[in-house]
Amino acid sequence: MEITVNGVAQSIAAAEPDLLSVLKSNKIEDPQMVAVQLNGQFVESSQYAATILSEGDVVEFLYFMGGGSR
């Protein structure tokens, strides 16, 4: 199926991909490193594995970025 990840179309081979596997396939090894929006709604990190994606879903990974001073 086709989904959009951070503004870019992605083809997913799995029929019922869950959010956690999509995180992993996008090289986000530690799910705590990002906040995740699915179709504009935030998903709790505890729900990543249980959230099944559908055709056309829009996923945004928002990365923690803490640098600034040092």
């Binding site: 490193m33 935030f42 990365y63 923690f64 970025m65 803490g66 600034g68 001073s69 040092r70």
Partner: protein, 269 residues
């Protein structure tokens, strides 16, 4: 109300020419008070441009000293400043650019006990700190005090920023609920950062501060702007206030400030 000297009219002429700023906007800048958190990568360009812009009162808070490894990006400091207090070094550079502005160097570390007392004297806070506990502290304190602020973060070739108007737009905790576990997200001192990225992001944050004060344009509220300068890709992600946000939601669970564990010092060495 308009009491600019000829010299000031010349100094600020490029602002005054702008339809959305003008003399009125410049007067607002002169009356405004902005606090810069961190005299580092983001705080350096912010401090310089805020001073150049004629923001009347600029506080700058940092408890660190200038190190030679800072100079690749922290352009408010020079080689001669190595070992000096960062805020004293920054204040000198700011006053040299514009003697009109009142610079308040605060050589302290923001913490739960002092942040409310410090931020209450400012109209806008520009967060350029280097660690998550302080970023969350700045967010929570600004939300509680109702003071608008700009969040900024940089790493490697990447930057992100959002502007928060408490009570109106999404806050940092609407997006990121709590600091990431220690060591899960690298810092600039661990992973590096391209020096100019600090300038790119710090000037975006400063533009937001100037826009907020003058009322020009549309702010980066309810929006996370992020960029990857390795390809110069810029993206905006729309955000909205979360009803269940622990600090700005309908039933906040965070009602007083606490110091989260400071991991940055352990990571730094």
């Amino acid at each position: 109300m308009i009491d600019f000297t000829t010299e000031q009219l010349n100094r600020y002429s490029r602002h005054i020419l702008l339809k959305d700023v003008g003399v009125e906007g410049q007067v607002k800048l002169g009356r405004a008070r902005v606090l810069v958190v961190g005299a580092g990568g983001l705080g350096s360009p912010a401090a310089l441009y805020l001073a150049a812009a004629g923001v009347g009162t600029i506080g700058i808070v940092d408890n660190d000293q200038v190190d030679i490894s800072n100079l690749q990006r922290q352009i408010v400091h020079g080689t001669k400043d190595i070992g000096r207090s960062k805020v004293e070094s920054a204040a000198e550079a700011m006053r040299a650019i514009n003697p009109d502005v009142e610079v308040r160097p605060l050589a302290t570390m923001l913490c739960a006990d002092n942040i409310m007392e410090i931020i209450k004297d400012y109209d806008f806070i520009l967060d350029g700190c280097d660690n998550f506990p302080t970023k969350f502290l700045v967010n929570d304190a600004c939300v509680m005090a109702g003071i608008p602020f700009s969040h900024g973060g940089i790493l490697r070739f990447d930057g992100q920023t959002m502007t928060v108007i408490p009570g109106e737009s999404a806050c940092y905790r609407c997006v990121f609920r709590q600091p990431p576990p220690p060591d899960s997200v690298p810092t600039c001192s661990q992973a590096g950062v391209l020096g100019a990225i600090a300038g790119m992001l710090g000037t975006i944050q400063t533009a937001e501060a100037l826009k907020y004060i003058t009322g020009a344009g549309r702010l980066l509220t309810d929006t996370l702007l992020s960029f990857d300068a390795s390809n110069m890709d810029f993206r905006k992600v729309a955000l909205r206030r979360q009803d269940d946000c622990p600090v700005c939601g309908a039933r906040p669970t965070i009602t007083e400030l606490t110091d989260a564990e400071q991991t940055v010092c352990a990571l730094k060495k």
